[in-house]
């Protein structure tokens, strides 16, 4: 390491293997390398330990509630902290309905945005548009909630819900025959399942659309050229050449959006109304699994109460994990083979 030396002594050459061995083992580098390796391994193991810890804490925390109610916990609908009777059905219902409502609204829009950005818009617009839609994902949940309380909810109360009731109110005629309330029936509070679904949709769109963009970009260019060469219009090219090839990945993106919607807490808590009741109408207030934890956890008196809330958390954890794994697998089936891209 002292610069080029004009004369190499022959005995050094003869000893070079020993020398190398010596350098690898003896000097500080062998010890230091091992220490470094183990330090980095410890950081990696931290990730494993954290997930293990999450599972352990959720399981041990929910044991009390599990022993008291068993699997029936998720099929009971009373939520009575005073008499220590707990059932999670209204929360499960609220989570499922608000999330699917969100997907129903978000998926067509998100795919439309992705199609526009990847296939239709002029090149100079691509970057800014992609950045702007990603910006939607950077807004914190609590700010969406704030906006929803003061802007979206009054709009829904004054215009949105009366409009839905007038033009889609006829659906009640069908549901009444089966003994349910219609989806657009009842007083327009503004706050309720519909507001939660809309705000969730806005929050889910950037995820679905960025994954859709990613898998659409992964479709080989030759596919597009081949379809165009056959005389297809641009839309026919997108439909048969791109969307059809990317559908598994798009489905993955949609499911990833579902995972986000299921676990979303603050914005939903602020607009869903927080009433543990099951109502068929989208105008009625509801409650979700995440919001009941957010609202009641720090005030939960009694071990069973706390345990019931942790069990809801455990259920939420298991469902989102399954959903996320499924989604990643689907995205992977389309994007494998293409170079890794940073998820910025």
């Amino acid at each position: 390491m002292t610069g080029p030396q004009p004369i190499a002594k022959p005995e050094v050459v003869g000893n070079s293997e020993v020398e190398a061995e010596h350098l690898l083992k003896a000097g500080n580098s062998y010890v230091a390398d091992s220490v470094f390796h183990f330090a980095m391994l410890a950081c990696g193991l931290c990730v494993l330990a954290l997930v293990g810890l999450i599972i352990y804490e959720l399981m041990s925390g929910s044991r009390l509630s599990w022993h008291a109610f068993g699997l029936k916990f998720f099929f009971r609908s009373e939520w009575d902290p005073v008499n220590e009777q707990f059932g999670a059905l209204p929360f499960v219902y609220g989570t499922v309905v608000s999330s699917f409502l969100a997907l129903l609204l978000a998926v067509p829009l998100a795919i439309g945005v992705a199609v526009f950005i990847t296939e239709m818009c002029p090149r100079w617009l691509k970057g800014p548009l992609a950045f702007t839609t990603e910006l939607l994902a950077a807004i914190p949940s609590v700010i969406y909630g704030l906006w929803a309380i003061f802007v979206l909810v009054p709009l829904l109360r004054q215009y949105g819900e009366p409009f839905c009731a007038r033009y889609f109110g006829w659906t009640s005629g069908i549901t009444h025959r089966f003994g349910f309330q219609g989806p657009f029936e009842g007083p327009p509070y503004g706050i309720g399942m519909l507001a939660a679904g809309i705000i969730l949709a806005i929050m889910v769109i950037p995820i679905v659309s960025s994954i859709t963009r990613e898998v659409m970009t992964a479709v080989p260019q030759q596919q597009r050229e081949a379809v165009l060469a056959l005389g297809a219009t641009r839309w026919e090219m997108i439909r048969t050449g791109v969307l059809r090839n990317a559908r598994a990945g798009i489905l993955g993106g949609v499911i990833l959006g579902l995972g986000r919607a299921l676990g979303e807490t603050m914005a939903v808590t602020m607009v869903i109304g927080n009433r543990p009741e099951i109502a068929a109408s989208l105008f009625a207030p509801g409650y979700t699994m995440a919001s009941v934890i957010a609202n009641e956890f720090s005030e939960a008196t009694g071990d069973t109460y706390l345990s019931a809330l942790i069990e809801i958390g455990l259920a939420l954890f298991i469902v989102t994990i399954i959903v996320n794994i499924l989604a990643q697998f689907l995205v992977w089936t389309v994007t494998r083979g293409t170079p890794a891209r940073t998820h910025a």
Partner: protein, 295 residues
């Protein structure tokens, strides 16, 4: 995986009919409309934040603690400082562990065991923030006996680690192997190569990942509800309940007082400015190129 196109007979021979041209036009229109519909709430959120928030940001808001209900004035200074304090605690735990895990995955983890950690990191990334809050409560709050800044920091750190680990790994893998080999060839030890050559080359990419994780947790509210808990007063003790900007926005937003609503908007504006600033900084660093060949 790419299928062969089979539906071509529909449009192979005939000249483009009015119907097909119409469909094409309609689809383009629908996609453009979707973009407008998606940008609408974005514009509305930002517009309202600025419109409602800017009037309420003043010197008092930035320097005072909250006043009791009914008294005008007061501010969120303690919440802004509390957020910074919690984020500092979170970063001091999350950033080193995250980068370390990323280094492990990139430099030592190209094997089955590495895949397990990689998969686990992705699982951890998908855990809802409220669940992370429960876990931080169980680990820190229960053992300490009270809500604390530390508990909030732990919750946010747990959320930062997987993001930082995965981006660090991706960035390190972008560094060509020839660079590592050149260092080894000069007799530089492996740990030194990793830290001073590989990590150094990937620095701006790693910073991007850290900033993204930071921006992601900066606005988090759910995991702080029952960990940091919030506080009406100044607090710098690591084991005491601490105010946070996002918590304060939440409390004020769901309160019935106009004065508090006004302050919630102001707080939200400050929060979003900080986050957008972080994200744009990331964008600028990223567009300079983390390495040759990225983006």
């Amino acid at each position: 995986m790419p299928e062969t196109v089979t539906a071509t007979s529909d449009f192979a021979a005939a000249p483009i009919s009015l119907w097909r041209r119409g469909m094409n036009f309609f689809a383009t229109l629908a996609a453009a409309a979707a973009v407008v519909l998606v940008l609408l709430p974005l514009g509305a959120v930002f517009g309202y934040l600025v419109y409602k928030g800017i009037g309420s940001i003043n010197w008092a808001f930035l320097t005072q603690t909250p006043k009791p209900v009914g008294e005008a004035g007061g501010g969120m200074a303690n919440a802004i400082a509390g957020s910074a304090w919690i984020l500092l605690i979170a970063s001091s735990m999350g950033v080193p562990i995250g980068i370390g895990a990323g280094i492990y995955l990139a430099e030592y983890g190209r094997n089955q065991f590495g895949n397990v950690i990689r998969f686990t990191a992705d699982v951890l990334n998908g855990v809802p923030s409220i669940v992370v809050g429960i876990v931080a409560y169980a680990i820190v709050v229960l053992s300490q006996g009270h809500f604390s800044a530390l508990a909030g920091g732990v919750a946010l750190a747990i959320m930062m680690i997987p993001t930082i680990a995965r981006t660090t790994e991706e960035m390190l893998l972008l560094v060509p192997n020839t660079v590592r080999e050149a260092a080894y060839g000069l007799g530089v030890s492996r740990w030194r190569t990793t830290l001073s050559i590989t990590l150094r080359t990937a620095t701006s990419g790693v910073i991007t990942g850290v900033m993204l994780a930071f921006a992601r947790v900066a606005g988090e509210t759910a995991p702080l509800l029952f960990t940091a808990f919030g506080n009406q007063y100044w607090n710098w003790k690591i084991n005491q309940p601490t105010a946070a900007l996002s918590l304060q926005i939440f409390t004020y937003a769901i309160s019935p007082f106009d004065e508090w609503h006004r302050q919630a908007w102001a707080g939200a504006l400050i929060l979003i400015v900080l986050i957008v600033f972080a994200v744009s900084a990331v964008r600028i660093v990223a567009s300079r190129g983390m390495l040759k060949g990225t983006n």
